[in-house]
């Protein structure tokens, strides 16, 4: 029973970190590929490398300090951040599933990056813009990965496992990126975002509750029940909004 509870918790943790990291890394890779294609790979790779080094320094500074933080306060803060972040993802995925939001952000990000490169005239300035664009893309998306790994990993007391899941996502996205390069929008992004949203909101509820000293019935296994509840609610919202949109379209036509 205890083994089942521990393994379900670990599976949900690894799944959440892997998928969330993969989504963020796909976005970062899109920007780097766009910069590399239009301006050459040197500035794109330099910007990415400096961003990764900066992120590494940040983790080295912040990571050890988290261990000394009171666990209840940490879990409440983590729970609140994950609830907000998860609900944002889930909301976006639900709206996309109903056609109320464009499905592929990656194509838009690619075009936008290429356009901003084309507007730049001198060669030296183009190199600097390429470096900054790659740096910002990798740093900001990477920072979100770092927050996900640190918050989920420390709260679940499996920081090493969370870091390994993120590293696995980096390897998978990196290999896929090298193979498909421009076909990044073929990744079923919305299904991934919906799954990640459900997992983050479930973790947010669970850790937030523990931070508020709630004793969850069944301990860690209640996390699985939360995942089911949020998945069903999301599906119901998609079904309801699709029906409403179809009814509205029938009235206006």
């Amino acid at each position: 029973m205890v083994m089942a509870a521990v393994s379900s918790n670990v599976v949900v943790l690894v799944g959440a970190v892997f998928l969330a990291s993969a989504v963020e890394m796909v976005e970062a890779l899109t920007i780097v590929v766009a910069v590399g294609h239009t301006q050459g790979w040197r500035s794109a790779l330099e910007g990415s490398a400096v961003a990764l080094l900066t992120l590494g320094a940040l983790v080295a500074l912040v990571g050890p300090a988290l261990v000394h933080f009171p666990i209840d306060v940490l879990r409440l803060l983590v729970g609140a951040v994950l609830l907000i972040f998860g609900m944002q993802w889930l909301r976006k995925a639900i709206l996309r599933s109903c056609g109320l939001k464009a499905k592929h952000d990656e194509d838009a990000i690619y075009e936008q990056t290429v356009e901003s490169m084309a507007e730049t005239t001198s060669s030296a300035r183009r190199d600097r813009v390429a470096f900054v664009l790659a740096f910002k893309g990798v740093f900001l998306e990477g920072l979100e990965v770092v927050i996900i790994v640190l918050t989920l990993g420390t709260s679940a007391r499996h920081l090493g496992l969370a870091a390994l899941a993120a590293l696995a996502a980096l390897l998978v996205v990196g290999v896929v990126g090298v193979i498909v390069a421009r076909q990044l929008s073929k990744v079923p992004e919305n299904a991934m975002k919906m799954t990640v949203g459900v997992l983050l909101v479930s973790y947010g509820t669970f850790f937030g509750g523990e931070g508020l000293r709630i004793r969850w019935p069944g301990g860690d296994t209640s996390l699985v029940l939360l995942v089911v509840i949020y998945a069903v609610v999301s599906w119901l919202l998609v079904v309801r909004l699709r029906a409403l949109s179809a009814a509205q379209a029938a009235v206006t036509s």
Partner: protein, 80 residues
């Protein structure tokens, strides 16, 4: 000295902007809802010691917040 100050100011502004976009962005209602949810559930759990009620309230209020935000976005799209 001036260049380093403006660099530091830009860094702080950029950091603040990142957290603003990360937590609030275009969904301030979700940020506000989570603060309210934590406030209500902490009253029930830490002050009232009603564990069963808190277990039900936390996910229920989160579902309501999500549903409300999605509904708000749907209504906004209808107005456009």
């Amino acid at each position: 000295m001036k260049a380093s100050t403006s660099w530091a100011v830009r860094l702080v502004r950029g950091f603040a902007r990142f957290w603003w976009d990360f937590l609030i962005g275009d969904t301030p209602e979700l940020f506000a809802a989570v603060l309210v949810i934590i406030g209500v559930v902490s009253l029930v759990s830490l002050v009232g010691h009603e564990n069963a009620l808190a277990v039900v309230l936390l996910p229920a209020l989160s579902v309501l917040a999500l549903g409300g935000s999605v509904w708000r976005a749907w209504r906004a799209s209808r107005r456009r």
